[in-house]
Amino acid sequence: MTAPLDVSGSAAEAQPESVLAGAGKAIQGRSLTRIAWMRLRRDKIALTGGIVVVLLILVAVFASPIIAVFGHPPLEFHQDQIDQSTLLPKGAFGGMSGEYLLGVEPINGRDIFSRIVAGAWISLLIGFLATMLSVLIGTTLGVIAGYFGGWVDLVIGRLMDVFLAFPLLVFAIALAGVVPDKGFGLEGNGLRIAMMIFIIGFFSWPSIGRIVRGQTLSLREREFVDASRSLGARNGYILFREILPNLMAPILVYATLLIPTNILFEAALSFLGVGVNPPTPTWGGMLSEAVRFYTLPHFVLFPGLAIFVTVLAFNLFGDGLRDAFDPRAH
């Protein structure tokens, strides 16, 4: 599966030249960030996405109190809710009730609502940290490739090709299978999560690397870079003072769009059974258990919807952010 990520530049419509020329005067002097913020504030859909993202983060952070009020501990068995012969929930609609908001799991009667709330942090944490890792690797290598060009660019370009040609999931599954119990000062789920962050982040850097490389290439040719080079500035100075600051906007945008992709990746790994160790709940893991009980719609639906809403929210927000930063879009 490839990242269903829109990596192309955004659109510009045929506009009378006067509009842009005229607008150019009015907004001169404002920073790009402020313009972007102004645009973002007007984009209701993107704002909705952003608000949902914030809510999700809050849910992940305050999972314990939420569960305490609305549910039962996510690992707690409620076998009294289960029909002992079929092992399915006794109540209608998968045992949904005021007590168990989204019903209970078959076999052990765990509270699905609580498990979904408790599963949020894994998805978000891995989504965020893996993205940071790929941004770090992608930006470093992309800037180096774009700035220095020549054989360095060639080698890094080939490296990106190799990564793109890797059957990712196969590797992820294989690697996850051979990871030991302890290592790098971590053990158990800590190591497991670190490994997933590593796998996901390490394999998704080329997408951001390519964008950064392209941007660096064009920045390198700009006058201000030429100017400081002619003044004898060192590479390091040019890179950190002049190129990187100008890369911040595209990096921010594509990082935001990479998060949902990585969340989907995490869900896929958990779905294939190589995620964090049970009984820690994850949305992908819940879905993979639901496969065996496909006759229970609620068991399939809720974790799936949780993934969907999260990914959609990030996509909406990221799209809005990109439109806001990309002057051609408006």
Partner: protein, 586 residues
């Protein structure tokens, strides 16, 4: 070989068992009219103690499916119960389990042989006389040489790594024997020989009584030497039974058609009803259940029961439930409590685990009473001859006893509990559910479990059955399951509780390392009297439970569904599933 003594000890004892149980066993009746009439109305467990829907009508196509794949179709390279059972459509062995329902299914009857084996030399030599008129599918007669050759080829574990090793260990193979492939002219008559066209003689290193049970395994199915292609033979097995291969695509399926060279006069035990048998492998398990319910498939080959989604459909529906049988099979699902891992090296800590476990939750994890099995209180499952049920760790409602567990923890010096790791096979959802249930139950007494799943394919080789791995990673508990090759104490217990079988990797005994248990095993193996021996195996069982190194979960039951239009359906205890060779279609 540590195993030798055990085998030798078992020898004469088992002999007595077999002879008495068989009652001179002739087994010449047609199974359809064997038992008391048979049942025709669908009812729950209708195929358990009698033949359901008996029929002698020939014709039709039996459609069977398998959610995974055979280890091998080669009689010398297979070790799955369903394979032993199903293979009898296209192979015949010296003996076989008596077909049909009821306790007699545990006994063996001659198949290729005219009668059961003739022991001599105090049980060190076993002679089998072949029937006359036996032919391979190409019309060439089956001779004793073909049987001896089949046994000799199966010795080569390099070529046939999957099959059982009993004959490798029992027979007196030449010292420098390299196998029939590496040394085609080797003389292996010191182990097995054809003294004439119809006489097969086995020479054992030590006396051994249960030879008739061993030769019912497919290593004795004849293989013509000139058609033998080693590891590729499974692609084109030459039939000695009533059906032969029409097509065979490894990994997809195969079709069996009638073998016109098979003479029913030589074979009273196989009614051979269908004209054709079609087998699909690697079918999605849920789809297989649905097809079985709908009637598109007659038979689920592995015979281990239905998937949870189907159970949810079948159990509440009386009409569907009436099509099922629910036998207890000689299999125990359990948890190894590994004494190598501190603090489980202290027996009190192990006992704490015993007391803390919620047996009902564990049973539910395994699929509940019908699909999972009866709550197990000790190691030996009920179908094992002489089994006794006892419970050293009885708790109210089987829900575990926090107080007793805490007392044990205190006695262990860990009053606040401890942390350890539990492994399970990640491709087995029931083991995962079990691990989660254990995590919950043990948490109540302060024992913190970390759960780790591993692929089933390398579970015993690389992880739970690998001594180094277990020690290095501090594995305290491991989900496990075991079924017996034949239904006595030795057949069930030896591989999983004898500490002397333990080696570096690939172990099945993960946790029982107790000298007293080993001593009792030797004692039981040497005991001649049936009843006394059975008692001794029960003693082994008790000792293991006292050692608290095995936490029994369930004595497995499988919920089997009789396919629509299937005739002559009967559960056979020896096979632990439906007796496939009896089946016919309407």
């Amino acid at each position: 070989m540590r195993r030798k003594t055990a085998l030798a000890g078992a020898a004469t004892a088992a002999l007595a068992l077999v002879l008495s149980a068989c009652g001179g066993g002739g087994g010449t009746q047609q199974p359809a009219d064997s038992s008391s009439g048979g049942a025709a109305q669908p009812a729950f467990n209708a195929g358990l103690n009698e033949v359901y829907n008996p029929s002698t009508k020939k014709g039709g196509t039996l459609k069977a499916a398998h959610s995974a794949d055979w280890d091998s179709l080669d009689p010398g390279d297979t070790y799955y119960g369903y394979s032993f059972n199903f293979g009898r459509f296209y192979w015949r062995t010296l003996t076989t389990y008596k077909p049909g329902p009821g306790p007699e299914g545990n006994t063996v009857v001659p198949d290729l042989a005219e009668g059961l084996g003739e022991p001599s030399d105090g049980g060190k030599t076993w002679t089998y006389k072949l029937k006359s008129g036996l032919k391979f599918e190409d019309g060439t007669p089956i001779t004793a040489k073909d049987v001896a050759y089949a046994v000799a080829r199966s010795w080569d574990k390099k070529t046939f790594p999957h099959g059982p090793s009993y004959l490798n260990e029992l027979l007196d193979w030449p010292k420098d024997f390299k196998g029939v492939y590496d040394d085609p002219d080797a003389d292996y008559s010191s182990a097995v020989e054809a003294t004439d066209d119809s006489t097969v003689v086995f020479h054992l290193k030590e006396p051994f009584a249960s030879m008739d049970y061993v030769v019912q395994m497919p290593m004795t199915a004849p293989v013509p030497k000139d058609k033998d292609t080693g590891a590729k033979y499974k692609e084109k097995v030459v039939s000695s039974g009533p059906y032969k291969f029409e097509t065979n695509e490894i990994g997809k399926g195969f079709t069996l058609v009638r073998n016109d060279q098979w003479d029913p006069a030589t074979d009273p035990i196989r009614p051979a009803l269908p004209d054709r048998i079609e087998v699909q492998v690697n079918v999605n398990a849920d789809d297989l259940d649905n097809q079985l319910i709908a009637g598109d498939v007659h038979l689920d080959i592995p015979g281990t029961g239905m998937q949870p989604a189907a159970l949810g459909k079948v159990l509440p529906d009386p009409a569907l439930k009436a099509r099922t049988d629910n036998p207890t099979i000689p299999r125990l699902w359990y948890i190894s409590v590994i004494p190598d891992t501190p603090p489980l090296d202290n027996i009190e800590c192990r006992k704490a685990v015993m007391w803390a476990a919620d047996r009902v939750a564990n049973q539910t994890a395994y699929g509940g009473e019908l699909a999972g099995g009866e709550i197990a209180t000790n190691v030996l499952p009920p179908p094992i001859v002489g089994q006794e049920k006892f419970d050293l760790y009885a708790t109210p409602g089987n829900k575990g006893d926090v107080n007793k567990a805490k007392q044990a923890l205190t006695a262990c010096g860990q009053p606040n509990g401890f942390s350890t790791t539990m492994t399970y096979r990640s491709d087995r959802p029931r083991e995962k559910a079990l691990a989660e249930a254990m995590e919950q139950a043990l948490a109540k007494v302060g024992i913190k479990l970390t759960l780790k799943g591993f692929p089933g394919s390398s579970y015993f080789s690389d992880y739970a059955g690998n001594v180094n791995y277990v020690k290095k990673n501090g594995i305290g508990l491991a989900a496990h399951g075991w079924g017996s090759d034949w239904p006595d104490g030795y057949g069930f217990l030896q591989a999983i509780v004898d500490s002397r079988t333990i080696r570096d990797a690939g172990n099945y005994n993960l946790s029982v390392k107790n000298d007293e248990v080993d001593k009792l095993i030797d004692q039981a193996s040497a005991e001649l009297d049936d009843a006394a021996r059975a008692k001794l195996w029960v003693e082994v069982d008790k000792k293991v439970m006292e050692d608290a190194s095995i936490l029994p979960v369930v004595w497995a039951k499988s919920l089997l569904m009789r396919g629509k239009g299937l005739t002559n359906v009967a559960y056979n205890e020896g096979q632990s599933m439906y007796d496939y060779i009896l089946l016919g279609v309407e």
